[in-house]
Symmetry: C2
Subunit: 442 residues, 2 copies
Amino acid sequence: MTMINSFDAAAATDMSERDRALVERRERLLGPAYRLFYANPVHLVRGEGVWLYDADGSAYLDVYNNVASVGHCHPHVVEALSRQAATLNTHTRYLTDGILDYAERLLGYFPAELAHVMFTCTGSEANDLAYRAARTFTGGTGVIITQLAYHGVTIAISEMSPSLGDGIVLPPHVRTVPAPNAYHADGGDVGEAFARHVRLAIADMKAHGIKPAALLVDTIFSSDGVLSGPAGFLAPAAAAIREAGGLLIADEVQPGFGRTGEGMWGFSRHGVVPDIVTMGKPMGNGHPMAGLVARPEILETFGKRTRYFNTFGGNPVSCAVGMAVLDVIEQSHLIANAGDVGSYLRDGLRGLATRHEMIGDVRGAGLFIGVELVTDRKTRSPATAATARLVNGLREKRVLISAAGLHANVLKIRPPLVFSRGNADHFLSALDEVLSDISATS
Amino acid sequence: MTMINSFDAAAATDMSERDRALVERRERLLGPAYRLFYANPVHLVRGEGVWLYDADGSAYLDVYNNVASVGHCHPHVVEALSRQAATLNTHTRYLTDGILDYAERLLGYFPAELAHVMFTCTGSEANDLAYRAARTFTGGTGVIITQLAYHGVTIAISEMSPSLGDGIVLPPHVRTVPAPNAYHADGGDVGEAFARHVRLAIADMKAHGIKPAALLVDTIFSSDGVLSGPAGFLAPAAAAIREAGGLLIADEVQPGFGRTGEGMWGFSRHGVVPDIVTMGKPMGNGHPMAGLVARPEILETFGKRTRYFNTFGGNPVSCAVGMAVLDVIEQSHLIANAGDVGSYLRDGLRGLATRHEMIGDVRGAGLFIGVELVTDRKTRSPATAATARLVNGLREKRVLISAAGLHANVLKIRPPLVFSRGNADHFLSALDEVLSDISATS
C-alpha cells in the first residue's frame, strides 16, 4: 500500500518547475512523514461535485475520495457550516440544541439497541474511544484485527493498523487474522473460515492470559482489498467474539453513510448488530467530525468510571454540518444512487474483464468497489507493478484513484456518492485505454 | 476539578422545565460520560466577541473560553472558513498552496530550531503524535508529567492526564512530579525544586529499566492551578530531561497563540526552546485544528520509520481558518491587549484581595490568570467548597468561569483575547458581589 502512490523523486520527471518548487517547499516545511500521491503529484485549487481542478483549470474525475461524499463543496453543506459558524460555536458543557437534534436523527439510522452517541473529531479518535470503552466494559484488553487493517493514527489505534507499514509494531494484546476473502477462498465458506481464525486468535490470547475485549473490523475491509461478500459473512465471527466475552466493533469510517448502496451502514449487509459502531470521514463531507454509537450499558460503565470531554467534538458547527450531510443523502437519494451507479459500474468493469485478462475479480457494494488485478487468472498472482502503472496512468488521464490489499493490486473505487452513470462511463473508458496501453507495452 | 462544575441533579432546583427536558434528552441520547457545567446549566444559542447569549436573549460574559480566542464568531474567521469551504476541501496527499502558506507563517512565530510543522485535528492528537515521535527519536518510553496534568483524551494521552480523575490508571512508563508552585514554595527556588523532582523521576525510571522519552508540560500548568511564575522556572528541568536523553515537549494547547500577553507561546517566558511544541484549542478559534512543531531531526527519524496521514489535518479549510486567526491576532494587537488587560485585571483582583480574605494569591500572565482561594491566608488551606459556590454564584450573575488545581480552589480566568478593561471591570464587580455574599453567609 505504501508504494503505489507515494511521491518518488527519482521518477518525477513529468513535474512542472512550479510543482517541483511546491514539493520542495512542502518537504522543507512539513518534513518527511508527509507523502504525496503519484510520481507526478496533482496540484489542486478547486472542487465541485465529483470534480477536482488543478492550477491550470484542468478537471480531474474523483473516483477515490470518500470524504467529500455528497460532492466536493456541496452548497447546502457549506451554507449550514457558514450560518452556524456565524451564530454559535462552543463546547458540550453548555446546553445547546443542535447536538441533540443531530444525535437523535443520527441514532434513527441505527438499530434500537445502539441508543447512545458520542462525538469526536476524527475516526482515529472514535476508534480510540471505542477501544477504551470496550476495555472498561469487558475488563479485557485483547483485540482482533485483520492482517492489513487500518483503523487510525493515535498510538493505541496505529498499533491496530498494520497497513501503516513496517514502522508499526503490534503489541501483545493485538492479534491479526486473515481478512475474509471470497476470491481466494477456493469455494470454501468465507464466513466460517473467518470465524475459525477469530476463534483460534481468542484461544491463543487466552493461552497467554489475555482477556478479549473486541473484534474490530472495517465492515468492507477496505485496506485489506475491499472485501464485500458474500453478504452475511461477518455473522459467525461476531458470534465467536461474543461467546468469548468480547465486543464487535464495526468501523464504519469508510463504508458508512450510504456508500454501500443498500442502507446507511456496511454492517447491515451482514445481518449483525455490532456493540459499538464508529464513523468518521464522510460524516461532515470534509469538516473534521466523527463519533461512535454504542449499546447504553457499555457507555454506562465507561461514564461511571471516567469522564470524556472532547473540546471540539459535537460542537454546534459540526452538528449543523452533519445535519446538512444527512439532508443531502436523503433529498438527493444518494443511497439509491450509490446502489444504481455502483451496480452499473460493476457491470461495466465486468464488461472490461472480457477484454482485459488482467482483471481477476470485480467486487464491492454500492459505490465501494474493488478490482483485483492479476498476472494470471488461474493462479490469481497479484499484478502489483501493473497496478501501480495503472494508477499513475489514470492520473495522466485526469482520473484520481488508488489501490489497496496485501499486494497493492486491488483498485479502490470510492467516488463521491453523486457519481452518475455518465461519470462511470468516463471512468470505464479511461480505464479501458490505460489497461490497453499496459498490455501493449508489457 | 471534577466536582466544581458538574451537573448535579439533586442540586438542580433552579432549572427551568425547558432546560430540565433538555438535560434529560441529553442523558438519553449522549449517555453518562457527558457532563455539564453548573448545577443550573446554561442553554446557549448565540455568541459574539466576549459574549454568549442564552435562549431568553440574556448575555453572559465569557471569562473562561480560551478556544474562541479572537472572540466568538469573529467575522473575519467565519468569512475565511466559508470562502474556503466553498472552494476546495481535500487532504494532504495532493499539492495545495494554503497548507504551505500557513505552515510558513506559523513557523515564523517559533525559534529557527523548530523548523517543521505537522497538522492534526485536536490537541489530543497533537500530544499523541508528539509522544510517538519522541519515542521513535529517543528510543525511550518514559514520560514525566505533573501531578494534575491534562494533555488529552486518546488512550495514550489520557494515561498522561491524571486530572481526568479516578478512572485513569497511569502506566509504569509515566511518572508524576509536583507542579512548580511558587505560592506553596515557602520562598524556595521554584525552578530548582521542579528540576529536583524531575531528576528523581528520571533516576527512578532508570532503576526500573525505563529509558526517558520526554518531559511533557503545559507551559502555564493550567489544570495544576495556573502556575505562571516566576518566569524562567522551566529551564533547570529542561536541562535535566535533556541530560537524561529525553525531550522537552511544551504543550501550548492552552497558553499558546498570544494568551500570555508577552509573545505567542508560554515557553518563551521561561527562556527555553522545547524540542517539540504542541498546539490546539485557539488555533482555529473553534474550528477543529491542532498541530505540532518540532526540530527536523526528530521528525526525520519518525518519517523514515513510518508515515503519518491525518485525513482532515492540514486541509485547505483549516489552513484558511488558521491564517484568519493569525490575521486577527496581529491586526487587532491581541497579544498587547492580553498583556494590558491581563495586568489591569490582576491589579483589580489584588485590589479585591485587600477586602476579601479568601483571595490567597493572584497570579498569571496576560489573560491566563489564576486566583487561589483559601480559608486561611497563613496556612493557605484550600477554600474548595467556597470556590464551587463562587463559580455557581458567578453563573447566576451571568459570568462564566471555572476552577482548577489539586483542591479545585483556583479560579481559572481565561477569556477571549478581545476582553477589554470594561469587561474586566464588569467581571471584578460581579466577583466582588459574590465574594461578599459568600463571606456574609459562611
